[in-house]
Symmetry: C2
Subunit: 407 residues, 2 copies
């Protein structure tokens, strides 16, 4: 590919350099923790992972190439980092075809709002690029890592599939697959990739110990394989050089750093990536959404009343202790969860800016912000629930069938 | 299952105890070496591996249950060790069904005589038990371990399949599969097995290091999976409790010790095993047949002249240095390769016994034994070559198609 128009990382920069300084953040596929009340330091993470910040120039270029207003999440810095996005845009500008790949580990029945983020953004990318999309349900991963039966993770994958379909993907361009069902089709690529991964390498990337099961050693290649178009002959035929763009949360980057290292050894293209920040827990940036604590997240199955109650009772506020103090100092937006949620789900830029100004200056109070958020999320969740109901078993079968797609 | 009629190993004996004493033999799937000119000490190996010697009583019982004269190789102690063979005979005696599983790693085009041993014996077992048989071509294994391309190991598997078919298997009862093609069907069982294998366990069994590729860590579960009938729903339907008997060379035992450890954790039956000794190199028991030294083995592709020349020139003899000394002392059968080959391929018991007596007493000379062996192997190899020519691409497709079998 020719040189991208905006700076991207140097070719050899995929390997994450050792962290330096007082960095207490841990970000890998199995752990995301920050000691700070403002959460992960993403600027530092870009340096640590050797990825590239998404600049305003890159966003403008994305809009020109796709001839579409960019999604608020990339304009607002929620999708904040990338690898080789410029190369993908070069390729598309020259009339080349590409595809999207994202996934989900089906470990729970109900998705929370954070789970929707990669899918809603991927839906935008599919509309913008009008390209095929493959979505991997890593039921095998959840079986290998969690105390779930194989049948249960398979069932959860099928359930989650309905939530994914509800995000509005183009049925003529989208293939959703369970690893249990589809791995056989990718197996030659999986062993090719496994042959390039030494145990030293994956141990360093994922922190495995000798008492871990060996399925975990095998799995990174299973997540890597869909990055290569030859894993989908029913979509791409014999074309092994269709470039792939992967939208994902930044914690998945270690998988794809390894994938990108493997690609040239196999004669395949390195996948490009766009990374999102994490969607915060209701309890605050330094905490985790947890399936065992329902008050930590808003689920796509929540009723309007549950949504309102959770926001009013549990959403961590950056508002001040007294109205007087709040009027004087304004809210601390860096730790305010309701405002963070609005930056995700209030898509009206002007209204969001007005709220930012009013709240940070103390003219708006926490209760008003929370009411605003309730007014945004109740209809959003209700719309998701309607769309999910419309996702029939027949639709699941179609999305998950090995078939030709529009390319 | 009820208690077998003959002693088998205690339930917890699968784990190999640490070797004791002056044991220089190394036997695992990747290394078989002995410092002794008489080769591996198999009595010691039974103790080391915790398997059970096949007794005359067991052979007699096998004959009663199958209502067929036992194969010379089990009567002659070439298949010398087992795990739970008695339980299989109990089960068959009660009218239960069972199946056979064996395999081949396709790393070379032409098979040598040693490669035929498990298949010829399995052919006898299939005739005796009139049962389904699955044969795994571990093309993935050879790709992961050797400097072969994936396409090459796949091609070699297909080529080797013709040699396997030439051994005379019942097409209505035999399923031969390439891992590349069939792994997807077994993948749920493979991840179930992988979840029970810690890295510590497989490292101890196979001696992996951190610089080995992780495909090697994944593979033992791939070789284990065909031991369980649920890996073949097209043959056994929903019956997950059809017991499996695995004929194999003893070096494969570490795979199946692990498999037997995993079975009860998964609610599956432990596979039973019958183990063979190794077929010696033409150069002697302490040496190895090697693809890079054609004189070390007789190949199923060899011409009558090549067979005669190799035996005459290269077969290591236990005959004495001079005729006089030979007449006085007799041949040393413990190191004599032509006689060892006759114990494999001269199926006429009386004739073999006569040769043993004549040769060990010095009445027969090395040249006569070698001539006898030439007379046995030339027609055997020619018959194999004819049978292989008769194995069409169509036959390969049928044997390798996922289909119902007679059970």
């Amino acid at each position: 590919m020719s040189a991208p128009l905006v700076p991207t990382e140097p070719a050899a920069a995929d390997a994450a350099p050792a962290a330096t300084g007082d960095d207490d953040d841990v970000v890998d596929p199995f752990n995301v923790t920050s000691a700070s009340s403002t959460g992960i330091n993403y600027d530092r993470l870009i340096v640590k992972f050797g990825s590239t910040a998404i600049t305003e120039d890159m966003v403008a270029r994305l809009e020109r190439v796709t001839n579409m207003r960019a999604h608020p999440w990339i304009r607002r810095g929620i999708f904040f980092s990338h690898r080789d996005l410029g190369s993908i845009l070069d390729h598309v500008e020259r009339g080349g075809r590409m595809y999207l790949y994202t996934g989900r580990g089906p470990s729970s029945e109900a998705l929370h709002l954070g789970h929707l983020v990669p899918f809603m953004f991927t839906k935008y990318l599919q509309d913008a690029f009008k390209c095929p999309l493959v979505i991997q349900l890593t039921d095998d991963e959840k079986f290998l890592w969690k105390d779930h039966s194989l049948a249960e993770t398979y069932r959860l994958g099928k359930e989650n599939c309905k939530d994914i379909i509800a995000c509005g993907f183009d049925i003529s361009r989208t293939f959703i697959f369970s690893d249990y069902e589809y791995v056989g089709h990718m197996y030659p690529n999986i062993v090719r990739i496994q042959k390039t991964f030494t145990y030293s390498t994956i141990k360093a990337a994922f922190g495995f110990s000798d008492s871990d099961n060996v399925g975990k050693h095998a799995f990174p290649a299973v997540q890597a394989a869909p990055s290569f178009s030859s894993s989908f002959p029913h979509i791409f035929g014999a074309d092994e050089r269709v470039p792939c763009l992967i939208p994902c949360a930044i914690d998945q980057d270690p998988y794809f750093r390894l994938t990108r290292d493997a690609a040239p050894k196999l004669g395949f293209l390195k996948p490009a990536l766009v990374h999102s920040k994490f969607f915060p827990s209701l309890h605050g940036f330094g905490t985790k959404m947890s399936a065992s604590d329902e008050s930590s997240a808003i689920y796509v199955t929540d009723t309007p009343k549950q949504i309102r109650d959770k926001i009013v009772k549990y959403a961590f506020s950056g508002g001040r202790d007294s109205v007087e103090e709040h009027r004087r100092l304004g809210a601390n937006l860096a730790v305010d969860v309701p405002f963070a949620y609005l930056t995700f789900f209030l898509f009206d830029d002007e209204r969001l800016e007005r709220i930012r100004a009013e709240y940070s200056s103390g003219r708006m109070l926490t209760g008003e912000i929370k009411a605003e958020l309730v007014g945004v999320l109740q209809p959003l969740v209700a719309a998701h629930q309607r769309a999910r109901l419309a996702a029939t078993d027949e639709a699941v079968r179609t999305f998950m069938s090995v078939r030709k797609l529009d390319v």
